[in-house]
């Protein structure tokens, strides 16, 4: 902009100099011509005046000669003719001087006046045309009467001329002198004019030269600046371009853009076309709206910066080898203001892919470290024997999963059967891991459950759909090996420690009634409690307490868990009872117990109560699980079943309360809308019901909406020596 203004100024100056030069030359030529003409006429007049000076004397002599001739009666014609010629010449020259106007007026007037005084005496002489002589043989030649008159006139003229010739001559000399002076003045003026013209032209030429020199210097500087701009635009790593009011890219942009967008046709390209094939439609629409907003002055720049939707734009582009790659670009926009408001919008684009990936890597690494730490802390609270038991069971389950995966299948129905089996095994592993607070294992299995769910949704299944699951299973196995290794190390560490907590370990009895205000650290078994654990492999209390604490934290609930009689669970029922309790506790935490503020509004205690009681009955055993939560309404169960498309709306309408309550044990049922680690998949209660049925038992549920839900499991008497079922 500054360069353009300077250039305009320079052009105006050059035009001024050119005009001045033309004016000077014109003036010099015009006045020079006039002066030269004046000089020429002055010189001519001077010559005339000089010639005239001689004539008064000549006329006097011619008159003398004419008189002499007349006196001697000689031929006077020749003398008269010469006189006539002289008089005519003087008349003509005086007229010429008067006409030229160059002669000094008074001088010429005086000369003319003096000459006019000649006229009365000269006119009769020069106008004489008669015969001056009379010739007779006797008297010879004598003057005729005309001749005598003529003689008298000549004599008078001769006397007058002799008397006035010198004054007239002097006057004509003065006239000549005046003309010479005038001519000389004109010549001096002409010289001065020419000199001034040359000087002015010289000054203007110097000025023009100076400006030309300046211009060349400026042009050189501009060329250098242009060159430098080109270098900058070529080597800068950010993409720069200007957008005009039509949101089109200007003719100058930085080279980096060509790498970022794999194209070169930026000039005139609209911003929308630039992003069109790279981003989803919704993003494109937002981006275009945003750029449009930049042209309005409603929002100031800081606000616009804060709502920039292109701060981290994910684009998919061709990597040049036929494959697609994802890059992350950061767009920044700055308004370029002109005198009439926003003139352009400067856009800078940076490729922040490496930053984004690094940030993700750091986040993953942080998550991993946290998971490891959680796992370690979780493991420290887990009974080593329970942990070993879990790892052994899980290994068996995974072998089963592997067997399921290896089963040959061709038909879609067979694949779906495989998926169902896989899902149940995974869910079982997740339940155990959650109960032991092994979140790293539980979350991995949760991801696998997600993958199985995705597979279920596909219209057609093939063997290839199972490949990602196999890979994930390998990862899970590797992780379990890590857990086992860490468990071994922890065990060694605990053994090597001095017996700092023997009292805690030895004194910790099997808690018959553990009360754990949820949200606090699990108060279960002390970390060093190997000795205590040795005698109670089947005691689930600490595991349940630990799980209750985690569930409460995860779901922002508060409840106390009261456990009675679990130490009396016969070994054949231990596994089933454990599965039942884990599932019921999850259901209670997720569906049953209300959030503290909800409970307060319902005039309930903030902290809910979950009771577990196992006891021997005359006919066998009885497990009662009860929570004082929201209870279950048949309407909710029916609505959820319709949503899950387990039953039709008509069928749901026909269901009585009993049938509706039975939906709890239907495969795939859940009232939870979303899927979380603990609920929502509709797997669990159907497995529980089936396990109980396998043992010859029964499961029932009773509930009062807003007050409680109670599950009752009845099992037949068992042979405590038969541990094979566990």
């Amino acid at each position: 902009m500054m360069v353009a203004a300077t250039e305009r100024r320079r052009q105006v100056l050059m035009a001024g100099i050119g005009t001045a030069l033309i004016l000077v030359m014109g003036t010099v030529l015009f006045f020079g011509f006039r002066l030269a003409t004046q000089t020429r006429t002055s010189i001519s007049a001077l010559q005339t005046a000089s010639t005239l000076q001689t004539y008064p004397e000549t006329i006097a002599q011619q008159l003398n000669s004419l008189r002499d001739r007349l006196e001697v009666r000689a031929y006077s014609g020749q003398a008269l003719s010469e006189l006539q010629a002289s008089v005519k010449h003087v008349n003509a020259n005086l007229r010429q001087l008067e006409a030229s106007g160059d002669a000094d007026g008074p001088q010429l007037s005086r000369a003319q006046l003096m000459w006019r005084q000649y006229q009365p005496v000269l006119e009769p002489v020069v106008n004489f045309t008669g015969q001056p002589y009379l010739d007779s043989d006797t008297a010879g030649s004598s003057l005729s009467s005309e001749g005598r008159r003529h003689y008298a006139e000549v004599k008078r003229a001769q006397l007058f001329a002799n008397e006035n010739a010198r004054p007239l001559q002097t006057q004509l000399a003065s006239l000549a002198t005046a003309l010479q002076r005038s001519s000389s003045d004109a010549a001096t003026r002409l010289r001065t004019l020419l000199l001034a013209g040359v000087l002015a032209a010289l000054v203007l030429a110097i000025a023009a030269g100076y400006f030309q020199l300046t211009r060349e210097r400026q042009e050189r500087a501009a060329r250098e600046a242009q060159e430098q701009t080109r270098y900058i635009l070529k080597s800068v790593r950010e993409g720069f371009f200007l957008l005009d009011a039509d949101h089109r890219i200007g003719s100058v942009w930085s080279e980096a853009l060509t790498h970022m967008f794999s194209r070169t046709d930026f000039a005139g390209l609209s911003f929308e076309d630039l992003l069109k094939d790279l981003v989803p439609m919704a993003t494109l629409t937002t981006a275009v709206k945003y750029v449009k907003l930049l042209w309005g002055e409603r929002a100031h720049e800081n606000l616009m910066k804060s709502i920039n939707p292109l701060g981290q734009l994910e684009i998919t582009r061709d990597n040049g080898h036929g494959a697609k790659e994802t890059r992350y670009l950061q767009f920044d926009f700055h308004r370029v203001m002109g005198p009439q408001g926003i003139k352009h919008v400067l856009c800078s684009v940076s490729d922040i892919t490496s930053n984004v990936l690094l940030a993700r890597e750091l986040q993953d690494s942080q998550d991993n470290a946290n998971a490891q730490m959680d796992m370690m802390i979780g493991m420290m609270h887990v009974d080593p024997l329970q942990l070993t038991s879990f790892l052994d069971t899980t290994e068996t389950s995974i072998k089963l999963v592997n067997t399921i995966l290896r089963e040959p299948a061709r038909a879609d129905a067979e694949f779906r059967k495989k998926l169902a089996g896989l899902f149940r095994e995974l869910h079982s592993i997740k339940g155990e891991a959650s109960a032991l607070n092994l979140t790293s294992v539980a979350s991995r299995v949760h991801v696998m459950e997600d993958m199985v769910s995705e597979c279920k949704k596909r219209p057609e299944l093939s063997g290839n759909d199972f490949l990602p699951l196999v890979l994930k299973l390998d990862e899970l196995l590797a992780h379990l090996r890590g857990v086992r290794e860490m468990a071994t190390r922890l065990s060694v560490l605990k053994d090597s420690l001095p017996a700092a907590t023997p009292a805690a370990g030895a004194a910790a009895p099997t808690p018959q009634s553990a009360r754990a205000p949820a949200g606090r650290a699990p108060p279960g078994r002390a970390p060093g409690g190997r000795a205590a654990a040795a005698g109670s492999l089947n005691d689930l209390s600490p595991t349940l307490q630990s799980m209750a604490t985690r569930l409460a934290q995860d779901h922002n609930k508060q409840f106390r868990l009261s456990v009675v009689g679990l130490a009396d669970v016969p070994p054949p029922y231990a596994s089933t009872i454990k599965d039942c309790l884990i599932q019921m506790l999850r259901n209670a935490a997720v569906h049953g117990i209300e959030a503290p503020d909800v409970r307060r509004n319902l005039a309930k205690q903030d902290v809910g109560v979950v009771k577990v009681e196992f006891r021997k009955t005359p006919g066998g055993y009885e497990l009662v699980f009860e929570d004082d939560g929201a209870g279950i309404t048949p309407q909710n169960l029916k609505a959820a079943a319709v949503r899950k498309r387990l039953v039709t709306e008509e069928a749901a309408g026909r269901m009585d309360t009993r049938a509706a309550m039975a939906l709890i044990f239907a495969p795939g049922f859940s009232t939870q809308e979303g899927v979380s680690m603990d609920a929502g998949r509709g797997v669990g209660m159907d497995v529980v019901a089936r396990s109980v049925a396998t043992l010859g038992g029964k499961i029932g549920v009773s509930t009062h909406p807003g007050k409680f839900t109670r599950f009752r499991v009845v099992l037949p008497g068992a042979d405590s020596d038969s541990a094979a079922v566990a």
Partner: protein, 130 residues
Amino acid sequence: MSTNPKPNAKKSFKLMIVDDSNIMRRRIERSQQFEELQVVGTAGNGLEALELFKKTDPDVVTMDLTMPQMDGIECIGRLVTLKPAVRILVISALADKATAVEAMEKGANGFLNKPFTDRQLNEAIAELLC
């Protein structure tokens, strides 16, 4: 919807607060520290806001986006149609940039994310008034 029956004539700008949360409405009213702002009314949804707007003709509006009956984005469009010179500060928990751009396109003049501090609120209002 509530209106202030005695608007102070000394104040040079009338403020209307639109938010479906009563707590948030009170919070904004209490936290704004501008003498030249006179709260002329509060509304709990877009429809109430429109009605109140026609009655009180405010100069400045704080607008929530997620509200029942009529959301903030639609309400902004209607308010700007009624009075193009009105200045609207969107105060929303919807933090995505697309929503902000949408609101600005409809005619909002500022955007503030929930939760916010008193200082952030007053800075946002100050930018709106200048």
